[in-house]
């Protein structure tokens, strides 16, 4: 499954050799002898790796420290900047798991419901809109497309107050609907745009052939386009997963009943409810909450990287 995202048309730079493998020769002065040349090169490359490893370690250190701290007894956390463990303390995990009114698994389940619903909503509604924008001619297309692009940049605070009023009047506060319905209605315009770009890269001959065979738009969409845009759908799935899993603001506003808490609000409630001495179990649950994101990162890296590189989502 080679991803097509790399070959997406990137408007202003198509002349610049898109998709060229990144194997530029290191630039070293060529007047030197071969031996000196390679030695200088090796020294330079060693230095570069040294700097990168150091910088990388600095980047990752806080995360590793959190993992290690979650396995330490509480009184050790405040005294130990290093990463070594004298003993493996699993009690942080067991006490953290049951520190709130519900076991932590309850909040994970709530998050999972919201995440899965959001993914389905985004996949269905964004791909439909993208098909219309990429393949169909209709009145107002240019205008709507412009509006769609603008909504990508719209700060959500401008709509959050009335949205809250709307959803609270329907009686949807403390349900998952306020978090799911916007996804079902393709309000994550980023993904619409991503998919439009992707569909534009699929040869039109394919749908024209299908049309000659008598297929209508629904069939072309379902049988021709959708199967070919799996990489774009995967990118959407992964980003929706991570963003929804991490979403704090929406959950903070709409989910005030502990029964309905998703992981981020539960963690926040944890911070508020515990005294400063239970950092260990707080870290333990933080690790638990980051684990799904980390796993998605591990398996979906390729799509994540391509998705950002081509559209700038993060």
């Amino acid at each position: 499954m080679t991803t097509k995202l790399e070959t997406l048309p990137t408007p202003e730079r198509k002349s610049a050799g898109a998709g060229k493998p990144n194997n530029r020769k290191p630039r070293v002065r060529e007047s030197r002898g071969t031996l000196a040349f390679s030695r200088a090169q090796r020294g330079k490359s060693l230095m570069k790796h040294g700097i990168l490893i150091l910088a990388g370690a600095l980047m990752i250190y806080p995360l590793l420290w959190m993992v290690v701290s979650s396995l330490r007894p509480n009184e050790m956390i405040f005294r130990e900047p290093g990463l070594w463990l004298n003993s493996l303390e699993m009690s942080n995990y067991t006490s953290g798991w049951s520190a709130l009114t519900h076991p932590f698994g309850h909040y994970m389940l709530n998050s999972a419901i919201v995440v899965i619903g959001s993914i389905l909503g985004n996949l269905v509604s964004c791909s439909m809109a993208a098909y219309a924008f990429a393949r169909l001619q209709f009145t107002g297309k240019r205008l709507f497309f412009g509006i769609m692009l603008l909504t990508i940049m719209l700060p959500f605070h401008v709509v959050i107050v009335p949205q809250y009023i709307l959803f609270s009047q329907i009686g949807w506060v403390n349900t998952f609907w306020p978090l799911l319905v916007p996804k079902l209605l393709a309000t994550d315009a980023f993904f619409v745009f991503l998919m439009v770009q992707f569909i534009r890269g699929i040869p039109r001959e394919l749908d024209e052939a299908a049309r000659i065979d008598g297929a209508g738009h629904p069939r072309i969409f379902l049988r021709v386009i959708l199967p070919l845009m799996v990489p774009a759908l995967a990118t959407t799935t992964i980003f929706t997963f991570i963003w929804t899993w991490n979403d704090f603001f929406g959950a903070l506003i709409y989910l005030t009943d502990p029964d309905m808490f998703t992981v981020p609000v539960a963690l926040r409630a944890f911070v508020d409810s515990q005294s400063a001495t239970s950092w260990g179990s707080l870290f333990a649950m933080s690790i638990v909450s980051l684990l799904p994101v980390f796993l998605v990162f591990l398996f979906g890296q390729r799509f994540l990287i391509k998705g950002i590189a081509t559209t700038g989502i993060k």
Partner: protein
């Protein structure tokens, strides 16, 4: 790149529909609107409707219980004398003007080091990218709160060198700085966009420059920077828009109150307190529109200024 350049290209070229296209238009119209239906409903019900509603509410006094009461410009004149609001603007501007350039500079620097056909690129890329995936989460904000706490990791390390560090997040003069640092730490996403941009600079430019005897630094100023300017612009616009809306980190690090002494009271945090803490929905709506205006002005300035420094080679 992508959304932003698409938007400017829409305004640039005027559509000329031929007779044949118009016929195709009519044929596709119905299908298109069916495909667009979820997005259109979302646009009206979740975006434009609430926007108009919030514009209306910004001229009213509304607390969710009594019906909105028209007060004209009162909310806006209240803002003029609201010292906490002024402070929140100052905090937000500091965050944006320090955090965004710093983050982009680091992202560009690391991207440059990673660009030159380096061995182990996927590994380094992952290491530097991971924090930007996790950075928006409550868990990492909690981690940050501890790292920069009085007995936190940073001070533990400083203590090894015999330095007594301050309580970073409990000291008003350093609290914002630690949140800015969290922002800089998440430079992975713009870094990947930079990497993609660097790949598209044709190698022949560098070769020609080398023949002319240009130094590495000259090559950077004369080739890399101009060729990369559309990407820098893209990252800049995106990061500024995003940073103005930052919320979660400040909320968690400050325990929800923007402390100590309002030093991390972001505009969005104040908006949240007004709207969802005190149910002063009219004022919160007015604030949201001010935020939209600020972001709009900065984006416009960016676009206008870009004419002078962004270089398109086509």
């Amino acid at each position: 790149m992508s959304a932003i350049s698409e938007l400017s290209s829409i305004t640039r070229r005027k559509g000329k529909a031929t007779a044949a296209e118009k016929k195709a238009n009519r044929r596709d119209n119905k299908a298109a609107y069916i495909f667009l239906l979820p997005w259109l409903v979302g646009l009206v019900a979740i975006t434009i409707g609430p926007m108009l509603m919030s514009l209306y509410l910004s001229f009213t006094d509304y607390n969710l219980l009594q019906p909105p009461e028209w007060t004209g410009l009162h909310n806006f004149t209240r803002m003029l004398s609201d010292a906490r609001l002024h402070n929140s603007l100052r905090v937000t501007f500091t965050y944006v003007f320090v955090g965004v350039p710093l983050q982009l500079a680091v992202a560009l620097l690391i991207a440059l080091v990673l660009d030159k056909g380096l061995r182990g690129l996927p590994f380094y890329r992952s290491v530097f990218y991971l924090p930007s995936l996790l950075g928006g989460s409550v868990a990492v904000a909690i981690l940050w709160k501890q790292i920069f706490g009085t007995t936190g990791l940073v001070n533990q390390v400083l203590a090894m060198f015999g330095i007594q560090g301050p309580g970073w997040i409990s000291d008003p003069s350093t609290a914002l700085g630690s949140i800015i640092l969290l922002h800089v730490w998440t430079f992975g996403a713009p870094m990947i966009i930079f990497l993609a941009g660097l790949r598209q600079i044709p190698n022949m430019y560098y070769e020609a420059a080398k023949v002319d005897g240009a130094t590495t630094l000259q090559q950077f100023w004369r080739i890399t920077l101009p060729m990369l300017s559309p990407i820098i612009f893209f990252n800049l616009v995106l990061q500024i828009i995003g940073s103005f809306q930052s919320f979660t980190q400040a909320f968690i690090v400050s325990g929800g109150n923007g402390g100590p002494s309002d030093s991390t009271m972001f505009f969005t945090l104040y908006l949240y307190q007004k709207g969802f803490g005190q149910f002063d929905m009219g004022y919160a709506s007015a604030m949201a529109w001010v935020l939209l205006l600020i972001i709009g002005v900065f984006t416009a300035i960016n676009f206008i200024a870009s004419k002078y420094w962004v270089f398109y080679d086509d």
